[in-house]
């Protein structure tokens, strides 16, 4: 049985996504090629990866805007560690740990001191990005071995689909199951709607939110590792502005900015729609500035859209109360 809420906005996003794909295939040269889709999926990976924990965070009524800066910091630290001779198999767990620590700082300010996550993570957005420049300056570390950098963009044999994309899809399934079919997911929705009632039901709201921030930081750092490998370049400014794309994609996927509402499938559709639209426009030689306008506009639409839809539904319901 399909839950009622799945019906409206999520379906609309999928329909629009299909329309964008069809229109682009006809209008944009080179869109309907497997090579283009391979590149598109490489662009999807970091956004989708960070969108997974971000979805949970936003459903609990919080937000983490520092993710792109954590990505940048992990990239910068990675570069510095490489310069000092640390092997890559050791660097990977170290940066993930670093991301978890960054997330823990966010979580501590939000749950320990009761500050709004919007304010806290705007602060750490600047802080972590600043730290990345402290660590690496404006240098770029680009001498990673090709055996690693090449491996991360390797497609599955016989296709153009990167294997990492399949791993992210697998992770998305895990996140989807946790969110929609486990006791943890039920708790997340409960606290997103009313954290007081959740507390009175025995749910540890602060502890859960803290853990989500830690998880988000760790995954953002993981995305930083991928980013560095993909572009074979560790830089302090890697992933600048990516937080906007992630938040836009999550909200576009029908997650309520006020918390308590959303589906993971919707978020995946939102990520695909956002990246497909951007890449199609890019392919059609639309200038980069315009692309930012597109992201901003989609963000506005995705905040206004579901609310307008809900208002409309409420009005209809009021006309015929159950």
């Amino acid at each position: 049985m399909v839950p009622k809420r799945l019906g409206t906005w999520d379906v609309l996003v999928v329909v629009v996504l299909a329309a964008v794909v069809v229109a682009s295939s006809v209008l944009v040269d080179g869109f309907a090629t497997s090579r283009f889709w391979g590149f598109l999926l490489l662009d999807v990976i970091p956004v989708a990866l960070i969108a997974l924990p971000m979805t949970l965070v936003i459903i609990t009524g919080e937000i983490d805007l520092s993710v792109a800066s954590v990505l940048g910091l992990s990239s910068a630290v990675m570069g510095q560690l490489w310069l000092s001779g640390t092997p890559l198999p050791l660097i990977l767990p170290l940066v993930v740990l670093l991301g978890a620590v960054c997330g823990a700082v966010n979580g501590l300010f939000v749950t320990g001191f009761g500050l709004p996550s919007l304010a806290v993570t705007i602060g750490t957005l600047a802080l972590y990005r600043g730290l990345s420049y402290v660590v690496l300056g404006d240098r770029a570390v680009a001498d990673f071995p090709f055996s690693w950098t090449g491996a991360f963009i390797e497609p599955l044999p016989g296709t153009t689909v990167p294997w990492v994309a399949v791993v992210v899809l697998g992770l998305a399934v895990v996140f989807g199951v946790v969110l929609h079919a486990t006791p943890i997911g039920r708790a997340l929705f409960a606290m997103g709607n009313n954290d007081q009632a959740a507390t009175f039901s025995g749910i540890s709201v602060a502890r859960t939110k803290f853990r989500l921030f830690v998880l988000t930081g760790a995954i953002a750092a993981l995305a930083g590792f991928f980013w560095t490998m993909r572009y074979a370049s560790a830089r302090a400014d890697n992933g600048g502005g990516l937080e906007l794309a992630v938040v836009a994609a999550v909200l576009l996927g029908g997650v309520s900015i006020f918390g308590g509402r959303g589906t993971l499938a919707g978020v995946l559709a939102g990520v695909l729609l956002l990246i497909t639209l951007r890449n199609a426009l890019q392919l059609a030689d639309v200038p980069a500035d315009t692309l930012t306008v597109v992201t901003g506009t989609l963000l506005i639409i995705s905040v206004v859209g579901p609310n307008a839809a809900t208002m409309l539904r409420e009005r209809l319901r009021r006309r015929r109360p159950a």
Partner: protein, 505 residues
């Protein structure tokens, strides 16, 4: 109907009012006659149509049919502004003032007295506010901000506002639900003085003692229809209850005698600075212990601390002889403690979530298999518990906010009874719910005590306390001042202790 000397023409009449929302007939035959200089009680179960009738008078709902007259002339209310212009004011249970504006600014919001150049004449505003308060006989500073006013004071501000535009008809929708005894008395004094000055007052309450103490006539409603209107002198509580429910409520407080067992919950010297002080008591299995006292005496804070939602500074809590860790509701639940909280809408339920999710929220882990929680397991379980407690639901997937207050409270009870508690704490278990459901809740509590559960009940309703409890613990200003056995407990002994006039036990 006996002759009233006050006036010939009623201040307000409503006849044959009908209001439907789709298939739901909220009001089928609403009738009302308010005379100037009377306090008129309106009683009925939840869902009897009282709220809809109030909203019709307030101009919020336009009735589908029916005639309204004001001072003998037919009137049509196009909206709340019309109602106000016609001299009808509604005082709600919880007024909504602007917290950062002063009391005077709240009263004159939107129609401030002006000086030249459209500047607000604050001096005149303050003076008029003082006059209004003097007229009501209350002490309130016109300049203080509304933030931090007690609910009782906020209601007085609303009443002053009503007076400021010469309201002739005052509708008070359950004004006493959140007031303490002293505050209720003060409100009654104000209402009586308004009656003397010739206002017509419609007073809605679930508390019969208040209705009988204050009102001149009582109108009973049931299922959206007018049932009767009689002078209070010709009515008994029993008659009113029978008319409300349309049947005999044989025993409102079906307290069974039970076998009292061992101590299950033991609270030792629980202290939180400024809130409660050295509170110690035991509750045994099979016992119903009431925690009585005035609003603000610290009763809810104590039970919240026991459950782990609120913190405490010193003291300890033992369940079955084992100490509970501080501030961890999950640990309290694991030890077999359940708390049905005071505020159903904010604490008891997640209003936006489906009924089934709310029922099963406390048992997410026990219902899951291999860490997975399927919708079917939830639905089957929710179905079983809602049927057991006879919750009237359409679809279990509907938001719990679509249920009536009484049914919502049953969902909260289902949520907690399903955990199989050893200690059941209920905080104001029947506040704002109708007589029928009230009796069911009481029967349920008795039944649980009979099964050996230790029940701790916080209640501000004396009849409930006296009817249900084996022992009454009375709190006054954060201290446990008296313990009264069932045989010795009566209204007087409890009220004396609650107001701090009894010696320590």
């Amino acid at each position: 109907m006996p002759e009233q000397t006050t006036t010939d023409t009623p201040a307000l009449t409503l006849a044959g009012a009908r209001k439907s929302f789709g298939a739901v007939h909220a009001l089928v035959d609403g009738r009302l006659e308010l005379r100037a200089g009377e306090v008129h009680g309106l009683v009925g179960e939840n869902g009897a149509g009282k709220s809809t009738l109030v909203k019709v008078l307030a101009g919020v709902h336009a009735p589908d049919e029916g005639e309204l007259t004001l001072g003998g002339r037919p009137a049509v209310l196009g909206g709340p502004a019309d109602a106000r212009a016609a001299g009808i004011a509604v005082i709600y249970q919880e007024p909504t003032l602007f917290p950062d504006l002063s009391v005077a600014e709240n009263i004159f919001m939107g129609r401030q007295p002006l000086r030249s150049l459209r500047r607000i004449d604050t001096a005149a505003m303050r003076r008029r506010t003082r006059e209004l308060f003097a007229q009501l006989g209350v002490q309130l500073d016109p300049d203080r901000p509304a933030r931090g006013l007690s609910i009782a004071d906020q209601q007085l501000v609303e009443i002053a506002k009503a007076l400021s535009f010469d309201a002739r008809v005052l509708v008070m929708d359950e004004p006493t639900a959140a007031l303490s005894g002293v505050e209720v008395e003060r409100l009654f004094a104000v209402v009586r003085s308004l009656r003397e000055s010739g206002a017509a007052i419609l007073f809605i309450s679930h508390r019969f003692d208040e209705v009988f103490a204050l009102c001149d006539r009582i109108t009973v409603m049931r299922d959206g229809r007018w049932v009767s209107t009689d002078p209070v002198g010709q009515l008994t509580v029993g008659q009113v209850v029978r008319r409300m429910v349309g049947r005999e409520v044989s025993a409102l407080y079906p307290k069974q005698d039970t076998q009292v067992g061992d101590v299950v919950l033991s609270v030792r010297g629980l202290t939180r600075a400024g809130v409660f002080d050295a509170v110690s008591f035991d509750v045994r299995g099979g016992e119903i212990v009431a925690l009585a006292g005035l609003v603000g005496a610290g009763r809810s804070e104590v039970v919240r601390a026991v459950f782990g939602v609120d913190r405490y500074d010193t003291g300890e809590i033992l369940v079955g002889g084992r100490r509970l860790p501080r501030g961890r509701p999950a640990a309290a639940m694991a030890a077999g403690v359940a708390l049905v909280p005071e505020d159903r809408r904010q604490q008891g339920l997640v209003m936006e979530l489906p009924i089934e999710r709310n029922v099963t929220l406390t048992r997410r882990w026990s219902l899951s298999r291999l860490g997975l929680l399927g919708p079917r397991a939830e639905r089957e379980d929710a179905h079983r518990w809602t049927r057991l407690l006879q919750v009237k639901v359409g679809h279990l997937s509907d938001p719990v906010s679509t249920l009536s207050g009484g049914n919502q409270q049953k969902v909260v009870l289902a949520k907690w009874l399903s955990t199989g508690p050893k200690v059941l704490i209920v905080d104001e278990p029947t506040r704002g719910i109708d007589v029928g459901t009230k009796a069911e809740v009481h029967r349920l509590m008795s039944q649980l005590a009979g099964e050996g559960v230790a029940v701790l009940m916080v209640s501000s309703e004396l009849p409930e306390v006296l009817g249900m409890a084996d022992r009454v613990l009375v709190m006054h200003e954060g201290r446990l001042v008296e313990e009264i056995a069932r045989e010795r407990a009566d209204e007087e002994s409890v009220m004396l202790a609650a107001t701090g006039q009894a010696g320590r036990p």
